[in-house]
Symmetry: C2
Subunit: 342 residues, 2 copies
């Protein structure tokens, strides 16, 4: 009998989740029992994303369905079909879609799965399909255009700029002729922004005063703030925003694990400077942007006009630590877990 | 020689302005010395508005020109032309535009003045031209449509709902088939919202817990929050907003006189609920809305389909106290000062 390791959700955390208390890896025997249209997946990569912290909350107010206590956690993944009762997904297909954080999982009715053409002979890493070509990439691409409305010559400030979304936002903004400023949590990440992604300016938010660093990096103010972190960084951005600026509210990771988050005192700038701050989730924009996104980002990636850094944890056992590390900003680039080789 | 009383700006306040310290009434002899195109005005009404607190700040970051130390404060007014070197504004004309907080003032080149047709025989109070038909009315009308995008059946929550802007927002929203909820600072104001303006629900924000009151008044959540106050009221609104809600950021009076304003901790709702929060100043929208505004609000007012409460202080000497009172929410309805009878 095949043994199957899964990351099981145990308890709703109120602060940082703790492995063994809120989630843990458990081993069970695999019983696939496929019904008509089902497929059995051998999972290769799973995506770890900050928004998933919201799915751990004990509330029905989170914007995506919560994880179920006692069940495997789940998210975007790349998998191989190893057993199939669905003609559209023959054995051997490489697919992407929502999968369990498990070595093997059943996709009921193959719902939401999509075949990756040439998946077995891909010119780009398979993990790209849950990163730069997946949900984080679509998030960056769609929201920058629809909410940010970038114009050449403007300045954009991106927080968590070396992360899954930020690094693509910055590179697209550079292509569109903006001055690009980023913040990140280590000197190594800042060097990546400046040297590899060619940002115009960047700073380590853990060193010095955020507002002073931002003022130095954006002497002409900020027209678009791409918000991933919240807290003092948002407050600093509000101080330096230009009139009619746009705040793309993608994430506020500083608040996710804190039951008493930092209070923002200078929202008056939203009125005085006539700012627009707009939240979104990627599914709001996916349909209208899918074709453009695939053509643009897919093309840039194949032609090596953009780069995309991933932080790859190896093995299902590494998942809890990688997830907690990502919530603490320890990841350098988009966090994925490689569960198995193809 | 004619004596002329004016309210002179003396000092930038950091908290609530104090009469005699930050501004005071002074009497000087009137020396008109009109040049070509100038007119001399006998001022009848002046408008006192919360945004003017921003013009008292010692900063160039306020969104309108600051008051000038040692000079009269100014704002919208209604005046009679009593001396004229401008053929477009003959003696006896009733005009509205930016005027000094003075009994008499010179309008250089008659800049920005507009004649009120039938001003001497008006069917509506002359003060309407600085209230419901003036800047506050245009503010309410334009921003509700452009930012709020109201749809019949939705719920709108309006803070400072009996104020200059709020009372018109509420009545327009009722006309458009929305469920209208308001907050105000006294039981008398709440009774006005319910009985006179026909709001669906209203509460006194000084009694009980704001969030609990709001939840009771808006059991199906809030689709549009018309923001005039900031602070805890904004925080409560964020809690009850529905997905895709809009926040019309018109004012945050709770923060104007406080160098250390209340910090907003739950902005994460902007992302989770995909909210849009947008600031504006009325001049952003005035051109595109002027014709519709004059037709709609002017028509409703003449036909008594809407009502509009004013709080009228009498005499230029009453101005400092009335202004401070307005910043404290003591006004009941739109605050004006009647300086003289026609």
């Amino acid at each position: 009998m095949v043994q199957n390791k899964s990351v099981i959700f145990l308890k709703h955390p109120t602060e940082y989740p703790v492995a063994g208390e809120h989630f843990e890896v458990q081993t069970k025997e695999l019983h696939a029992n496929l019904k008509d249209k089902d497929v059995l997946l051998r999972n290769l990569y799973i995506s770890l994303d900050p928004y998933m912290r919201g799915r751990m909350r004990d509330t029905n107010k989170s914007y995506t369905a919560g994880f179920v206590l006692g069940q495997p956690m789940n998210g975007s993944g790349v998998s191989e079909v190893i057993e199939s009762k669905n003609d559209a997904f023959p054995v051997g297909s490489i697919v992407t879609g929502m999968v369990d954080w498990s070595e093997y999982s059943v996709a009921t009715g193959a719902q939401g799965l999509r075949i990756i053409p040439d998946g077995r002979n891909s010119k780009i890493p398979l993990s790209s399909h849950i990163g730069v070509l997946g949900m984080p990439g679509m998030t960056a691409y769609s929201s920058l255009q629809i909410i940010g409305q970038p114009k050449a010559g403007e300045t954009i400030f991106i927080s968590a700029a070396s992360g899954a979304v930020g690094q693509l936002v910055g590179q697209i903004a550079k292509r569109q002729g903006l001055r690009v400023v980023g913040s990140a949590g280590s000197d190594e990440k800042v060097a990546y922004l400046l040297n590899d992604l060619k940002f115009d300016a960047a700073f380590n938010y853990k060193k010095g005063v955020i507002l002073e660093n931002l003022e130095k990096c954006a002497p002409e103010g900020v027209d678009i703030y791409y918000e991933n972190v919240g807290g003092e960084t948002l407050e600093a951005a509000l101080e330096v925003m230009n009139n009619h600026g746009r705040i793309v509210a993608c994430g506020m990771i500083s608040a996710y694990n804190n039951p008493n988050p930092y209070g923002i005192k200078n929202l008056m700038h939203i009125i005085a400077k006539r700012l627009t701050m707009r939240g979104f989730i990627v599914s709001d924009f996916a349909a209208q942007c899918a074709a453009d996104f695939a053509r643009d980002v897919g093309g840039w990636l194949v032609n090596k006009e953009i780069i995309y850094k991933e932080d790859v944890a190896v093995g299902i056992d590494s998942t809890p630590e990688a997830f907690i590390g990502m919530l603490n900003g320890k990841n350098f680039g988009k966090q994925v877990v490689k569960i198995a080789d193809l």
